[in-house]
Amino acid sequence: MSLAGGQRQLDIKITRKAFRTASGELREVLRDFSLVLDAGKIHALVGPSGYGKTTLLRIIIGLDRDFEGQVSLPPDTKIGMVFQEPRLLPWRNVRDNLRLVAPEAAEADLSRIAADLGIGEHLNYFPGELSLGLARRVALARAFAVEPNLLVLDEPFVSLDRPLAMRLGDELVTLVERKKLTTLLVTHDLDEAIRLADHIMLLGGRPAKIIADFNISCPRATMTAEHAAELKAEIGAIMAGASA
């Protein structure tokens, strides 16, 4: 059984996740939280700042094991991760940053990924010589380069201008559809979520849970502006209700 085969869904159950703050008190971030990721689909997790989105991603990708609950990734899971910050190796140029996570990848594949994301000209640059937007694209390219079967993205398109964010979003969709990638995308941009995702999950409340879950039934390609606006109004109403 493999994720890439498109059969397997991923269950995430977090009974409790709490941080001990510097002042010694316990702060619960997530409680009775559960999430199902369907194979080959894009899931957007939308929620306000500080509600535990990054915390949740860290638990899913195995960086944080200090929680109650269960996340079981199949043993053959290959994670492609885009952190909230680019996290590139400053002492290696862009090409090496891609190469080091994907030592077996063909040079042509790396070049193609770089070209698709518009960083083909920058392969010999060091990260310190890139703008933040370029660095984010390198981080995205790195996640693609490993040929993942689980793609996790923490607000990958912030600080990019709108047309570029749209273009990179399209690249993401193309890749996911071609490879049947299971994808979890964190964003606070509702338009982006509607445009890209198959499922939209709204995070709210303290401790946070999923307060609403939308299945976008109409395929991305046929999404019209009117339909998107309707969806947005509907979701916006729920979010307004939750925060009231």
């Binding site: 990708i61 195995g62 960086l63 290959k78 994670i79 991760m81 952190f83 910050e85 996290r87 190796l89 400053p90 002492w91 290696r92 140029n93 090496d96 080091l100 996570v101 030592p103 060091f126 310190g128 010589e129 790195r142 490993v146």
Partner: protein, 246 residues
């Protein structure tokens, strides 16, 4: 560069004038020192002694750096190791070099092993402290990135860990080399029968200042050359990724 050469020429000129004025055995003229140097070079003794001292410097320095790096990383990253190792560090840091040297010779005999160990032990705590500082400031975000992308162990060491430690390793190398070669001379003086330190000891007994300088100066030259042609290019190489101010 031209200014440096000028300053060096000036130094030699002052030496020449002072030697002529003093006209004494204890301050030979530069020419006399060069003559002794040539004599020793001709017999091969100069190169033999320089070589053997250099070998002792390299081996003891290498040992101190390798173990200092390992201990430094362990202590910088692990609270328990840090607590365990810290008192040892404090003791070693405060033990005079001479005490370590004499103890090593008494316990292990007048051997090269004792000599090298004594020098390495003198340098070790300093290297450990510097590398520990580096290990404490490692970027956790990059480490997480490496683990999520399942980078193999060797890649992590070579491309994630060592580049972060490189400035600290370079700093430890810089201070370390100059400490080590000075201690090596003392160790040779006290308990070896060859090497630059031993020759200097002989010159001291004979009151032969020309001989002393004929050994000391070339060795200083070699250490300066190592600094200029190996240490500095290494530092330059490991920091080449840093954006340069235009």
């Amino acid at each position: 560069m031209a200014l440096r050469i000028l300053s060096l020429v000036l130094l030699i000129a002052i030496w020449q004038v002072a030697a002529m004025l003093a006209a004494s055995r204890v301050l030979p003229e530069p020419g006399a020192v060069v003559a002794v140097m040539l004599r020793e070079a001709h017999s091969g003794a100069l190169f033999f002694n320089l070589g053997i001292t250099l070998a002792r410097v390299i081996v003891s320095f290498g040992l101190a750096m390798v173990f200092g790096t390992l201990f430094g990383i362990a202590m910088g990253r692990n609270e328990t190791f840090d607590r365990l190792g810290d008192p040892w560090l404090v003791v070693l840091l405060n033990l005079p070099a001479l005490v370590i040297i004499v103890l090593a010779y008494i316990w292990m005999g007048l051997t090269d092993a004792a000599a090298i160990l004594a020098v390495a032990l003198n340098k070790l705590p300093n290297a450990t402290v510097v590398i520990r500082e580096g290990a404490r400031s490692l970027d956790a975000g990059l480490e997480e990135m490496a683990s999520v992308f399942a980078m193999p162990w060797s890649t992590r060491v070579k491309h994630v860990l060592l580049p972060q430690l490189a400035p600290y390793i370079a700093a430890a190398t810089r201070t370390g080399l100059s400490i080590v070669w000075k201690i090596v001379l003392v160790v040779e003086l006290l308990g070896r029968s060859n090497g630059v330190g031993f020759e200097i000891g002989t010159a001291f007994q004979l009151f032969d200042i020309s001989l002393l300088l004929a050994y000391a100066l070339p060795f200083v030259g070699i250490m300066l050359a190592i600094e200029a042609f190996i240490v500095q290019p290494f530092e330059h190489h490991v920091s080449r990724w840093r954006p340069k101010a235009a």
